[in-house]
């Protein structure tokens, strides 16, 4: 087995023992034939220094646990190729959220915004015995929306969310809002639009597009936000 050295500069902070955060220079040997992703290298690093703390679970880009800031850009460690990264690889926690420890951030604010848009189908008509029918075209409207994994890469790269995390829903939450607006089975479009018609909740988005740039699932929150804005305009006219 030929190994390869990977050099890191990692953000470290354990409130139990560190007065303040610092950057740690550290390197690790990986086997490039099997350990190809950034997460593989971090797991290896944790064998060397078990105090390094980060979240991870599925290791295939579907659970949304291991979002972090990698060489200045938000992404998922488990689907980021080591070979694509300039070394030393600078790894930091997602920006804009309070750091709990090392790469682990407190996501409360992010989920609060997601919950605020009532993320569930609202349909108060009596349910039929069978499935509610939906045409293939109508179902297609949900593609590019329902696949969100709530990783927070987008919202934590959005300047508007950094400044107003308590008031601006943020790209992930707005993408979810549109997911339900676009669902033909949902009957609450007008309440959803009322709720978002607010100088902060929706209109803090200035179409800077950072969110689109970083989404690891290649979703497009800006487009969804645009569609919500269109619906609001249509509703007035």
């Amino acid at each position: 087995m030929t190994t390869q050295t990977v050099k890191f500069r990692i953000y470290r902070y354990d409130p139990d023992k560190d007065a303040k955060p610092y950057m740690q220079d550290i390197s690790v040997e990986v086997d490039p034939s099997t350990e190809r992703k950034l997460l593989d290298a971090l797991v290896k690093l944790k064998v060397v220094d078990e105090s390094l703390s980060f979240r991870r679970s599925c290791r295939e880009g579907v659970c949304g646990s291991d979002a972090m800031n990698i060489n200045g850009k938000n992404g998922l460690a488990c689907i980021t190729d080591l070979a694509s990264l300039k070394q030393p690889i600078e790894v930091r926690p997602l920006p804009g959220l309070p750091v709990v420890r090392d790469l682990i951030v407190d996501m409360t604010q992010f989920f609060k915004q997601y919950h605020s848009i009532k993320p569930y189908v609202i349909n108060n008509s009596p349910a039929p015995d069978r499935e509610r029918l939906q045409s293939q075209e109508d179902r297609k409207e949900l593609d590019g929306l329902y696949e969100c994994i709530l990783c927070a890469c987008c919202s934590t790269s959005c300047p508007s969310f950094w400044w107003n995390p308590d008031k601006f829903v943020g790209p992930a939450g707005l993408l979810a809002a549109y997911r339900f607006i676009a669902d033909t089975r949902d009957e609450a479009t007008s309440e959803r639009l009322d709720d978002l018609e607010d100088p902060y909740r929706l209109f803090r988005c200035h179409s800077i597009m950072n969110c689109v740039d970083v989404c690891p699932k290649e979703l497009n929150p800006t487009k969804a936000i645009g569609k919500i804005k269109d619906l609001m305009v249509k509703r007035i006219s």
């Binding site: 409130p15 703390s53 599925c58 579907v62 659970c63 069978r130 329902y146």
Partner: protein, 593 residues
């Protein structure tokens, strides 16, 4: 630590686990107005149900005729007759209801042109009692688990379910009569230990695929529910039966769903031959998983593997319309490009059988009640992959697990509601023995200054399981495996961590998880060594195919469930329930596809 200083939080019901099973149960309880706490090691939508790809089975008959009785037949046959037929009937009959309900909850299923739920063919799904493949797997592209988990979480948000996110349950609490009183749990961010007391406790902690070196399972699938149950004296059922999924990406372990073969994918060996035609002339690439995995390993062992090391076979979909791949298998294409470095539109995907699913678990009936020696353990329930109802027997049919989560999540929720309603309003006094044992486990890790490294012990366990208890099993290897795994256990009891921080200490969490994994590994190896036949996913070379025992299955001696007891590594057995609820027994038969 003073026991009296440990905070106690009281509920009607506690659910440990927020995957598909836990969330489905939670919904039942929350909507019935029960005060319910759901604990999870991760934010609910990060549970491993999110990774399920192919579909959830139900005989909706949206594209062609189907019937729950045919589904039941396939499940019994798939289980190699080890599944309990009452539970299987219950599950297959309930399937259309729970899937329709899920649609009403907002699940974004794919659709047929008439607007009904889209269904695709899957391994072992046949019409008319094994005649020909049928479209039974209800799917949302190849992201069915993701769509389902999010829909269930969303519905729980609507129902105001109370979640304790990033809380790890450490141990089960039982009183002197064995009744369950709740769990001891640790808040991961602060390391605070709290007692959760309730009238009814459900385990929905998922699988333990991480006992093997190569697995489709997530890092968090460490069998915590099984470890906790075993430490509390509950035996584990049928732990020798592990499903090796035919198509894990070679080298990476990431899963490629059977739905790929459902959509027309073909397995080929180094000669380009569609070898499944030889092993399963009828169902071919869509034979049951154990059958396909063994065929693949046989091809590789006989020198017809692909690649420089001849160590894998190829999954070919290059003949499919790229449009179909893009619309029905987008996630697979993404995985293949990211983890195998090939675009399946242009080149076949290298695959090998990979540990995937645990058929065994905490013994329950179809109401989700935990049952030990014919007695219900009062206040204790289990559902999902950590439970053994037993609907999967010796081999699970694809898409029957997501179904299991919905059906038994719901039924255990209902059982809990009934039980809670019959209990006195006030909770009984807590018995602290189990709490003390749990606190001592954490204290040991905090105080230990020398000992075994957690990563080394875990690696030793995973290598032992992989080498001694894989797709094909051998008597001498199993015997040696038992010895080795007991040696690893000694290491696990003596692990040391240097990190003693109170803040989100993942080193400590991993050490605690390893204490659960090792219970599962012991149960598996010891149960496998003892079962001297081949059945479903458990195949040994000394139980060969004979006229008397076709495929090596020995119904005379081994048509029974294994129960592994942690105390003394004792094994007992109990009969398989061959009696369905309303229909005739599906009679024993040799299994062929």
């Amino acid at each position: 630590m003073k026991m009296s200083s440990i905070p106690v939080r009281k509920f009607d019901a506690i659910i440990v686990g927020a995957g598909g099973a836990g969330l489905r149960a939670a919904l039942q309880l929350s909507e019935a107005g029960m005060k319910t706490a759901v604990l999870s090691k991760v934010f609910p939508t990060r549970s491993h149900t999110v990774a399920a790809q192919g579909g959830v089975s139900a005989s909706l008959g949206n594209s062609e005729p189907d019937h729950w009785h045919w589904h039941m037949y396939d499940t019994v046959k798939g289980s190699d007759w080890l599944g309990d037929q009452d539970a299987i009937e219950f599950m297959c009959r309930e399937a259309p209801n729970v899937v329709i309900e899920l649609e009403h909850f907002g699940m974004p299923f794919d659709r047929n042109s008439d607007g009904t739920i889209y269904q695709r063919p899957f391994g072992g799904h046949m019409s008319n009692f094994g005649e020909k493949p049928v479209r039974r797997a209800c799917a949302a592209a190849d992201r069915t688990g993701h769509a389902m988990l999010h829909a269930l979480y969303q519905r729980n948000v609507r129902a105001n379910t109370q979640f304790f996110v990033e809380w790890m349950a450490l141990d089960l609490i039982r009183d002197s009569e064995g009744n369950v009183q709740g769990v001891v749990a640790m808040e991961m961010e602060t390391s605070e230990i709290v007692i959760f007391q309730a009238k009814a406790t459900l385990f929905a902690t998922g699988g333990a695929g991480r006992i093997f070196a190569s697995s489709t399972n997530a890092f968090i699938n460490t069998g915590d529910g099984l470890g906790m149950a075993a430490r509390a004296g509950i035996p584990l059922e049928d732990m020798e039966f592990w499903q090796f999924h035919p198509t894990g990406v070679a080298g990476a372990g990431v899963l490629i769903t059977e739905g790929v073969r459902g959509e027309g994918g073909i397995l080929r060996n180094a000669n380009g031959e569609r070898f499944m035609e030889r092993y399963a002339p009828n169902a071919k690439d869509l034979a049951s998983r154990d059958v396909v995995s063994r065929a693949m390993v046989t091809e590789i062992n006989e020198g017809r593997g692909c690649g420089p090391n001849k160590d894998h076979v190829l999954l070919d979909i290059t003949h499919l319309d790229p449009e179909v791949i893009m619309s029905k298998l987008p996630g697979i294409r993404e995985i293949s490009i990211k983890f195998a470095g090939v675009d399946p539109i242009k080149a076949p995907i290298p695959v090998v059988p990979t540990c995937h699913y645990q058929m065994g678990g905490i013994p329950t009936n179809y109401r989700g009640e935990v049952v030990v020696e014919d007695q219900v353990v009062k206040g204790f329930y289990a559902a999902g992959e950590c439970a053994c109802a037993s609907v999967h027997g010796a081999n699970r049919l694809g898409t029957n697990s997501l179904l299991d989560l919905l059906v038994f999540g719901k039924s255990s929720g209902n059982s809990m509601i009934d039980f809670i309603k019959g209990q006195p309003k006030d909770l009984p006094e807590l018995v602290m023995n189990d709490v003390e044992r749990s606190v001592a486990r954490v204290a040991r890790l905090d105080n230990q200054t020398q000992g075994a490294n957690v990563n080394e012990a875990r690696t030793a366990m995973q290598r032992t399981m992989q080498a001694h208890c894989g797709v094909f099993r051998f008597n001498d290897m199993l015997q040696e495996g038992v010895k080795k795994i007991l040696e690893v256990e000694v290491m696990v009891k003596n692990t040391v961590i240097a990190d003693k921080s109170k803040t989100f200490n993942t080193a400590r969490l991993e050490a605690l998880e390893l204490e659960n994994l090792i219970e599962v590994a012991k149960a598996t190896m010891i149960s496998a060594e003892a079962r001297k036949e081949s059945r479903g996913a458990h195949v040994r070379d000394d139980a060969a195919d004979t006229a008397e025992n076709p495929n090596g299955r020995d119904d005379q001696n081994w048509l029974k469930h294994t129960l592994w007891h942690r105390e003394g590594n004792r094994l007992t057995y109990k009969p398989v329930n061959l009696k369905p609820l309303s229909v005739e027994t599906i009679a024993l038969k040799t299994r062929s596809y």
